[in-house]
Symmetry: D2
Subunit: 137 residues, 4 copies
């Protein structure tokens, strides 16, 4: 069930398509993703653009927070950029559920570089949970 | 000078290229941008993806914070999603400088829908200012 | 009604009591407060302690978000410290409602110094709105 | 040295004095604190006031970020309230350093309840590091 939702979201979230994110694992309240930095994800200083890092973490957040099948909408998120990432770096995003009530959820996502395990960004996000279910196919 | 920096950043920030952001105005500590939501910026719920909104605001933030010509690197940012935006919506991002010291800066960016002026997202970001200058061409 | 809620909250929020916050105005989705920095609000660097500034802004946020009489609980908040404040400074906190749905709300609070209008801190906060009403006396 | 700084900050941060925070451990880039919720830390809903939780976490953040003896000033912080805490609860704040450069630092602080280990709040904060040293006595 969780994997079906993850597959549906991966196919239909156009930014995940653009970033070519790999869904490595998806469980209730959890998601792990991979992404390799391409030339078209760089900013004018030749580092991975902050919005690309945000979008990568955000997609892991979306899958983890929607994993129960009820529609979860992000209300806010913050990101701290702790180390720069560069062309060709393989990044891993791991989303954990820190809180979940009937109508709210709070998640933290780490983005690390696979080669040396360095923390590239730390992301946290809040969702509001709607009554409706995800139409996952 | 500010406009030269903005043009350089617009050409070399690959995510700004992908989003096809229009630089409407760039002054010292200020930037205004436009963007129209395309089908490939939607999430699985057919709303503008959060990462695309973040990236749009982030680019206005980058131009405003680098407008003096000294390299400003984002250390953190947060975004609140206040209203959903949809396919075809024309969005305006406006970045203002709320604080600037020799080594730090703090900016707030509003993202509004042009047709009705509704606030779509509120973004704020911190930069650390390096000694080096932007190579703007 | 809003003023009754504000009076009740001011009397029963023990941190507002400790900070001796003045409720200057309270309307639906809006609150304005005053506070004067005392010696026992300073940190080890003799500036107004960040937690005291946060608590001041947080109380304006609480009054604005509870102004409709339905219980609003803070889920998250962030604060940016833009200028230091010192012993004897008179501060003004002004809370505005940027978003309100049936179950969520988002508020931004400015903390300025009365004497020169300088921005001391910018605070934003999210609430989750419960079904129950505030027992305001 | 770190312990001397922590003792100095604990004695001179007036909000730490008011909250009666116990310094349990202080190392380079790390701090652990304890606090017991008193009646005068409650809000109008009889839960621990958000500003009191923020101030508690903020003090652990201040000690960890100043532990090297160079003055670190908070530029921004955010807090997520994950579970309510009540009168008499014993809370533990633990601050970890996630990033440190010459001029910037980023810290995350967990606030948990000692009796059941539940996460009460998650706090993160950024500092700007000045050239001057802390006058720790």
């Amino acid at each position: 069930m969780v994997e079906k939702i993850a597959r549906f979201m991966r196919a239909n979230d156009k930014v995940a398509v653009w970033l070519n994110i790999d869904v490595l694992s998806a469980k209730i309240g959890y998601a792990k993703m991979g992404m390799t930095i391409r030339a078209d994800m760089l900013n004018a200083a030749d580092m991975c653009q902050g919005g690309a890092l945000f979008s990568f973490a955000d997609f892991a957040f979306a899958v983890a927070s929607n994993s129960r099948g009820t529609l979860a909408l992000a209300t806010s998120a913050d990101i701290h950029f702790t180390n720069p990432a560069f062309l060709g770096d393989r990044l891993i995003a791991e989303a954990q559920e820190l809180q979940r009530t009937k109508r709210t959820g709070f998640y933290q996502i780490t983005v690390t570089r696979e080669s040396d395990g360095k923390l590239i960004a730390l992301f946290s996000g809040n969702v509001f949970i709607k009554e409706e279910h995800i139409k996952a196919g």
